[in-house]
């Protein structure tokens, strides 16, 4: 009975239903099993798997990580076995995860996105697809699909065409106008948006006269970028009606609530797990307490409440 009066934290992203509004950020959580000794995976809304590509990728040269003030720079370079080996060796292991399992697809051409999405989404173990369009494009350095409206649209449309499962498209903050990209991606058929991927950055080793990352530049995550991510969610929430998974530097329930009040329906937690693997638990508990203390019966009641021109009914 006491249970019945607990605030409802379930979230729908398209057809995907999450018991808790917390997704573990792609690339930060392996496939979930790495964290199983430290947290009950059933306490997670879902795990977004490490991004997979059409062909195997060796990944970037080390070092791939640099810690910066309140942040983490990474340049992993999408190390992964490629979709064939992934389907053969890895995916079956995800069947018993007690939370949603969301495949993440990265690519270097529109066709890549369609091909990998189709093959991955065909597997029962995969509950939904996240399209990582924020990884480097072939050709121009630093350019990504998420930075080019027409590429973002094409990749989304291509993936949409090959699956009925929930399609989350992950946007990059490294653009002049993220809301414009969001609108285009919504129109192209995305069911939800993940906002944001990492912010581009660099750190230089002043003793050795070289960038600290093997890949020279990388992506900044963690609390340092939280204000950037909250604003991105705020602006995207004014532009689209589909739900948003807000992420960037979340470590506490209050951090998560900033995103939710800005207009996110759920939150992503990546780097926060590196602070403490119990962060996702603490976030859910804290949100529940917050809602209860304010007399709300569901998380959905407060989505976007700090954002006056909030567009959605999520």
């Amino acid at each position: 009975m006491a249970e019945a009066t607990q605030p409802d934290l379930a979230v729908a992203l398209g057809r995907l239903r999450l018991s808790w509004p917390t997704l573990m950020g792609s690339g930060c959580y392996g496939s979930g099993e790495e964290y199983a000794p430290f947290i009950d995976l059933a306490a997670l809304g879902g795990v977004v798997l490490k991004s997979v590509t059409r062909h195997p990728r060796l990944g970037n040269a080390a070092p791939r990580l640099v810690s910066t003030p309140s942040g983490l720079l990474n340049a992993i370079g999408l190390q992964n076995p490629g979709i064939d080996a992934y389907l053969e060796n890895d995916v079956a292991n995800f069947a018993d995860r007690p939370c949603a399992v969301i495949g993440s697809v990265a690519g270097f051409s529109v066709d890549d996105y369609a091909y990998v999405t189709e093959r991955l989404a065909a597997r029962d173990e995969i509950d939904a697809i996240e399209l990582n369009i924020s990884c480097p494009n072939v050709g121009t350095e630093g350019e990504t699909f998420a930075c080019d409206p027409s590429l973002a649209e094409a990749a989304t449309r291509a993936a949409r065409g090959v699956t009925d499962k929930t399609l989350i498209v992950k946007l990059s903050p490294n653009v002049t106008d993220i809301a414009a990209i969001a609108r285009i991606v919504e129109a192209a058929g995305a069911d939800a948006l993940a906002v944001i991927n990492t912010v581009r950055g660099m750190s230089i080793d002043v003793d050795r006269w070289t960038p600290r990352l093997g890949n020279a530049n990388g992506g900044l995550s963690g609390p340092a970028i939280r204000p950037v991510a909250v604003l991105a969610v705020w602006e995207v929430a004014r532009a689209v009606k589909i739900p948003i998974v807000g992420q960037g530097g979340i470590e506490t329930a209050r951090d998560a609530l900033e995103f939710i009040l800005a207009g996110a329906s759920a939150v992503g937690i990546g780097t926060g797990n590196f602070t403490d693997p119990r962060v996702p638990l603490n976030v859910v508990d804290g949100i529940r307490d917050y809602l209860a203390a304010r007399g709300h019966s569901a998380l959905s009641e407060i989505v976007g409440k700090a954002n006056p021109r909030f567009a959605g009914v999520r």
Partner: protein, 283 residues
């Protein structure tokens, strides 16, 4: 059963004792019921700084006995600064034990332990285990300066021959500890176990190849997750051992057909390591 017992977990500990042999180097004793008994020599912990403002930090498990483990830490940045300031009674959470320890049996009965700086922290448990099975021990221990040479007597007490080196010449050999190694005859030891900064470990690896001694290296790198989830902490490794994409060491040498030793993959230091066979690294 064995794996279950040894499996890592979140351990809630309390600082039980604290020693600061030199300013900036702190040894934190932690009261923790079920950790020491499952810790293997060479394993590490991800330590959660209590403020919640910093990522967890990787620290070798220095001592492990009964209901006490200890960590030795050198203050280099915000995380180690926060941990170094902890006082007796403070709670501290660890993810532990993590990674694969040394394969001590494969090192024979005349082992040299080679420590660079705080690398010493990952070598006491191996020294104890080796001493317990009667191996002859030599400790080659280098640091910036005499004051930073900590606890060498702990190794002497285990019967190890201790040879010291300092960069500034304030104690022992003036120069790198690896220089001492190069001066030895071939096969001078049956095995080497080393921990320290990467440039030192590379030098140990080269010396080991030259001396024809099997060597295990415990690597230190920037970690994020520490549990194998983020693929951030990699080292180029012989292709065979890990099931990830394989490339060629030097693209330009790809044709004519590459030698097997040019094929490599990126192995995770936190998961496949932190201890690797020197001859399997491709760095």
């Amino acid at each position: 059963m064995y794996t279950l017992e040894r499996s890592p977990a979140v351990h809630r500990t309390v600082v039980s004792d604290r020693r600061e042999p030199v300013p900036g180097i702190v040894i934190l004793g932690l009261h923790v019921p079920h950790l020491a008994s499952i810790t293997l020599p060479g394993q590490f912990a991800m330590v959660v700084p209590p403020s919640g403002e910093q990522a967890a930090t990787a620290l070798g498990i220095y001592e492990a006995e009964g209901e006490r483990v200890s960590l030795m830490l050198v203050v280099v940045g915000p995380r180690t600064r926060e941990l170094a300031a902890l006082q007796i009674g403070a709670p501290l959470d660890l993810l532990a034990p993590l990674g694969n320890g040394f394969e001590l049996d494969a090192l024979g009965d005349n082992v040299a332990l080679i420590a660079g700086g705080v690398g010493i922290a990952s070598l006491l448990l191996p020294a104890q285990a080796l001493a317990a099975r009667g191996a002859r021990l030599t400790l080659l221990y280098g640091a910036r300066t005499a004051a930073a040479l900590v606890d060498a007597d702990r190794f002497a007490a285990l019967g190890a021959k201790v040879v010291l080196a300092t960069d500034d010449g304030t104690r022992g050999h003036a120069g790198f500890v690896t220089e001492l190694l190069r001066a030895l005859p071939k096969h001078a030891f049956s095995g080497l176990a080393a921990c320290g900064p990467s440039p030192m470990l590379r030098a140990v690896g080269r010396a080991a190849a030259y001396l024809d001694i099997p060597a295990q290296l415990a690597l230190e790198e920037t970690f994020a997750c520490g549990v194998g989830a983020c693929w951030g902490c990699v080292v180029p490794h012989a292709a065979s051992s890990v099931g990830t994409p394989v490339g060629l060491i030097r693209a330009k040498r790809a044709e004519p057909p590459a030698r097997e030793s040019d094929r490599f993959c990126y192995a995770r230091i936190c998961k496949e390591g932190p201890v690797f066979w020197a001859h399997e690294l491709r760095w």
